[in-house]
Amino acid sequence: MAVMEARCSSSVMLREFACEQNFLSQPDGSASFVHGDTSVYAGVYGPAEVKVSKEIYDRATLEVLIQPKVGLPGVRERSQEQCVRETCEASLLLSLHPRSSLTLILQVLHDDGSLLSCLLNAACMSLMDAGLPMSCLFCGVTCAIDADGQIITDPTAAQEKESRALMTFAIDSKKHNVLMTSTKGSFSVNELQQCIAVSQKASEKLFQFYRDSVRRRYSKTL
């Protein structure tokens, strides 16, 4: 067990990540998030007036739009939108803004692997920047299992391509539980448990980064 523990902790290697909040003037909240060469911009509008057809009487309506780097959003983007939206819905306190709309727009600038986790991180930072009430924060971590059964966290596009299985988890900041999972490729239950454990460990790093970057920002402005 100790060996595995050691292997797990040693394999939690994340590429360098960076984030900038509030860099767009028009949206109510914005953030850019960079994982290595993967880069995403996020903008949040709201709470604002909602279309009658989309109105929900006891909570806000959240819309997530993902724009790919080139071309029009397709079926894959729609599936990613669903994942991001339902993760945000779980952490946002939407019932505080009934009958209003929230729009989150995610623009992919470059995809070099771990896109979905980058989208999730950008989404969380922009929601924070917009000052929307949330019950907890969340972060996205992608794990790949390569041909030898090694777990690679935050894989690049090349690593993703060679991998046997790819999993993305959204993890909440309160209990480090899994909010969302999206997987590709086949894997055993044991491998899944290991990946969850690794991701939970990686999430600590990300949450620490969230904390540092917000602290840095407010120490400048205040």
Binding site: L72, P73, G74, V75, R78
Partner: protein, 274 residues
């Protein structure tokens, strides 16, 4: 061509394997008997299977099978009209939507509704509207959705029958049921309730009197609510064809009545004897 971004996309172009069949198709059967054993020039409709109430979410629904033609119809409403500007204070609105499943025809259809589907929806609407007491449903709309699961000819005629049965199953007030029947006129002879191949083939060289005819008929009022014909037919042939269709409709009538009675009995079982 704009690309469809809302579906999983395949290759740019693909062809049906039937285009590359090396052997010619079997010669059409001789005049007299049809491929499925029915006879030319006789009011020989395919045996019908109908069942009400298969779609649990709909107010009323009907499934119809005639030979291999398979249709499902669901009726929703009466409910508030979607387009507020078109709300009619005195009269309800009937909307019809008829679609073909992509696998329903010998050649794969596209998901995007073509002009054929829209034409058929329109004709279905025109045939059903006179039978529905729309003045009883002011400011509301009734939706009729027909899905063709397998197209083996005479789809419009069967869609009309199926839709009127679903409307009746939904408890929408109607003056009468609407039954549909179609024929294919081929020279001097005709086939009733044509199959897909019969509908699209023409055996006689003689170009007079070639055409398809579909009639929507209200049996107890003895009125025609819809008539659609294409091709070229003389006046006498056309009137004779309409008569044949009406005769065909009467053959369907008992089957539809029975299915409806069965659905009503299930919805409101007769009080027990004891």
């Amino acid at each position: 061509m704009p690309t469809d971004t809302k579906r999983v996309r395949g290759p740019e172009a693909s062809q049906s394997p039937s285009l590359f069949v090396s052997k010619p198709a079997a010669a059409p059967p001789s005049l007299g008997t049809r491929a499925d054993g029915r006879r030319w020039g006789q009011v020989d409709v395919r045996p019908l299977f109908v069942r009400c109430g298969l779609v649990s979410q709909a107010k009323g629904s009907a499934y119809l099978e005639a030979g291999s033609t398979k249709l499902l119809c669901g009726v929703y409403g009466p409910k508030e009209t979607e387009r507020k500007d078109e709300t009619d204070m005195k009269c309800g609105r009937l909307t019809t939507d008829m679609r073909f499943a992509p696998f329903s025809c010998p050649e794969r259809g596209s998901w995007i509704q073509g002009s054929q589907d829209k034409d058929l929806s329109q004709m279905l609407h025109e045939s059903l509207q006179p039978a529905v007491c729309l003045q009883k449903y002011p400011r509301s709309q009734i939706e009729v959705n027909v899905m063709v699961l397998e197209n083996s000819g005479s789809v419009l005629a069967h869609a009309i029958t199926c839709a009127s049965l679903a409307l009746a199953d939904a408890g929408i007030e109607m003056y009468d049921l609407v039954l549909g029947c179609s024929i294919r006129q081929d020279g001097d002879s005709y086939v009733v309730d044509p199959s897909y191949t019969e509908q699209n083939s023409c055996s006689s060289v003689d170009s007079d009197n070639q055409g398809n005819l579909t009639v929507a008929f209200l049996p107890s009022l003895n009125q025609i609510s819809g008539l659609q014909s294409d091709g070229e037919m003389t006046e006498e042939t056309l009137t004779a064809g309409v008569r044949t269709c009406i005769e065909g409709c009467y053959k369907l009538y008992p089957v539809i009545q029975q299915a409806l009675a069965k659905a009503v009995r299930r919805a409101a079982p007769p009080p027990s004897e004891s």
